[in-house]
């Protein structure tokens, strides 16, 4: 027994030194300590950090940026604020959603818990939705974001069938006040009350009013575009700024100083359905 204790003590004393001796040469020049999100939060609000990152990224040529989104599933509280922010930002009609938060309850009472998975477009580097489009209406722009050219899209919906993440929806031309009564002179009826639905959005940097039920983007496939129109103005995507749990991070992964570059180097990072070879640009921290 005494002999065993002696051996254990010896190992404790020298094993770490031996291990360090083996590993240290390989680590030469490598920054050993990476900031966790908790470290960053302790110093400053991540939004401020990301804003700085964004400012730096926008000074570079577009082709040199690599926008990525990182979502910390441990911090997501399932409030769906990002979903609603996205709907508001892009003035999405009924049946169109860019960023749902998939909520799953598991366990048996009383040991029940929930987990949440926000699902924006993955902006895949090898997007299955792009090559199937018969008219080049969807493609990766020079910043690597998969976009839809509304005036080019014929509405065949082939891209929706190709997306493994169900990240695309079709605009059927509905409004939230459909089937509500038309008002008389004294009452604000549908055709006046739904004016806010026709205001349109600045998607892709162009104001598109929903003037009728036929003009694009009605009849088109729509999807998350990382709020390109906001990025162009130096603003983070709506879902990022709205996240009350500070669970969604965004930035240029080509910038080694950026928060997202730090985060996607974490060992606990994963991407959805990696086996399909789509190379998503949305990373999840587990």
């Amino acid at each position: 027994m005494e002999e065993v204790e002696e051996t254990a003590g010896l190992l404790q004393k020298y094993a770490s030194q031996v291990f360090a001796g083996l590993v240290a040469p390989a680590l030469e020049g490598v920054q050993a300590v990476r900031a966790t999100i908790e470290d960053v939060l302790a110093k400053e609000d991540v939004l401020l950090r990301m804003q700085e990152d964004l400012k730096r990224a926008l000074e570079k040529p577009a082709a040199e940026r690599r926008w990525v989104m990182v979502i910390d599933l441990r911090r997501c509280i399932g409030c769906h604020a990002c979903t609603i922010a996205c709907v508001a930002e892009n003035n999405l009609p009924p049946g169109v959603v860019y960023r749902p938060v998939l909520s799953e309850e598991f366990g048996t009472y009383p040991n029940v818990t929930m987990r949440f998975l926000p699902r924006p477009c993955m902006q895949c580097d090898n997007p299955p939705c792009v090559p199937v489009c018969p008219v080049y209406a969807t493609y990766k722009n020079e910043e690597g974001v998969v976009v839809v050219e509304y005036d080019q899209c014929i509405g065949c919906r082939y891209c929706i069938t190709a997306c493994p993440y169900a990240a695309r929806t079709f605009d059927f031309g509905l409004t939230y006040l459909d089937e509500t009564p038309e008002g008389d002179d004294l009452v604000l009826g549908r055709s006046r009350a739904d004016e806010y639905e026709r205001v349109g959005a600045f998607e892709y940097g162009e104001l598109r009013r929903r003037k009728d039920r036929k003009t694009s983007p009605v009849g088109n496939v729509r999807k998350c575009h990382f709020c390109l129109h906001r990025l162009a103005e130096g603003m983070l995507p709506a879902c990022v700024t709205t996240c009350i749990g500070r669970a969604t991070y965004f930035g240029d992964a080509n910038d080694p100083e950026s928060l997202v570059a730090d985060l996607i180097a974490s060992p606990n990072v994963m991407r959805l359905k990696e086996d399909l070879g789509t190379e998503p640009r949305v990373y999840y921290l587990m």
Partner: protein, 376 residues
């Protein structure tokens, strides 16, 4: 009598369809039941069916105009006309399915050749032209060497376009139910099967009965139909059994939906019982298979079964969520994995069928499609 009934059916179907067409053009896709999850519905299934039948009809026509089989002499023009009408119905059906049907020209002038859909659109356009010119030559200059050249070219294009339909679905790695390497091989077989069934229907119920070869033609077409049906059932067995044994959840869910889930009745009653077993039993009996009426009606049942089969490839492949909890996390119109065609979709399909039936009948009235008419 049958022709009058067919005219009555076609007219009635077109009348019902008129409401569907109005709704489609006035309100776009609002009243359709397909959505953002089950994105392709009845019209896409009917497109696959009609276009496949057109390719199959053309293949049958080559027996007359390319291979010059004496037994099928005089059948080619009917088959070509059936193929042309069927292709028209298929393209009309898929055109209505587009979100922006006025932009279809973009596929021709600004298209992406790498897309299977682009290849199909170009392929079917070329195919339609080949059928039309072949039919013209078969009527006006049946001895022209160009007819044989066109039929040979058309046979290749028919195989290509029906294979492309398989590829259209098969390239989708995101959907294991469709991602079957043999789909582009299976679909030409399906097409030939529907083409043979169409000819059974036409020759059995609408062609003049005084052709001395008719009984033998029906018997051979019946046997061909049975053989192709068995091959088709074998393909299905292979796909389904491998899916279930393979155990990939998305795949197993899709197969279960067909066999035991929400589409069980369409599969067991419409496709297997009415569309497969009854025709199979009737057509292997020489006496019944040589009978105009029996053969014709069996052709109709086979066609109905193949149409249902197209739906049972499209809908289950889309009815399995790519990610769990999609529907429970964000609700809204057209965000569901439960699909059953809406009244408007049925009406449009009925109208398209009505157009096809009337178009075919009018062709038989005004075009010299039968052997004797041409000789006269």
């Amino acid at each position: 009598m049958l022709k009058k009934l067919a005219y009555a059916f076609g007219t009635l179907a077109l009348l019902v369809g008129a409401w569907g067409f109005y709704d489609r053009f006035a309100h776009g896709h609002e009243n359709a039941d397909y959505g953002s999850y089950v994105v392709w519905g009845l019209w896409v299934a009917m497109y696959l069916f009609f276009a496949g039948t057109a390719a199959g009809g053309f293949m049958i026509a080559t027996l007359d105009h390319l291979f010059h089989l004496p037994l099928f002499k005089g059948v080619g023009r009917l088959a070509l006309w059936g193929a042309l009408v069927s292709l028209g119905a298929g393209l009309f059906s898929i055109w209505l399915d587009l979100g922006h049907l006025e932009r279809v020209w973009k596929v021709y002038l600004q298209g992406n050749p790498g897309s299977v859909m682009f290849q199909m659109v170009w392929g079917y356009t070329l195919f339609g032209l080949i059928i039309a010119v072949s039919l013209f030559l078969a009527i006006k200059k049946p001895d022209s060497p160009w007819l044989r050249v066109l039929m040979g070219l058309g046979l290749g294009v028919a195989l290509f376009v029906s294979g492309a339909v398989g590829a259209l679905l098969g390239v989708n790695a995101a959907r294991p139910f469709w991602h079957v390497g043999l789909f582009p091989v299976q679909f030409p077989v399906f097409s030939l099967a529907s083409g043979a069934a169409m000819l059974l229907l036409i020759l059995g119920l609408f062609a003049p009965r005084d052709d001395p070869q008719r009984e033998q033609q029906l018997w051979v077409l019946g046997l061909l139909s049975v053989a192709l049906l068995v091959v088709k059932l074998y393909f299905m067995w292979a796909d389904y059994s491998q899916s279930i044994y393979g155990g990939i959840p998305m795949n197993v869910d899709a197969v279960n939906q067909v066999l035991f889930g929400k589409y069980w009745w369409a599969f067991w009653i419409l496709q297997i019982l009415i569309g497969s077993l009854i025709p199979l039993i009737v057509l292997v009996q020489p006496k019944l298979a040589r009978h105009n009426g029996w053969a014709g009606w069996m052709g109709l049942l086979l066609l109905a079964g193949y149409a249902v089969a197209r739906g049972l490839i499209i809908f289950p492949g889309l009815s399995v969520p790519e990610l769990e909890q999609l529907t429970s996390s964000f609700g809204g119109p057209h965000l569901t994995f439960d699909y059953f065609p809406s009244l408007m979709e049925w009406a449009v399909t009925l109208g398209t069928i009505g157009l096809a039936v009337l178009g075919f009948l009018l062709g038989t009235e005004y075009l010299p499609l039968y052997a004797k008419e041409l000789e006269a």
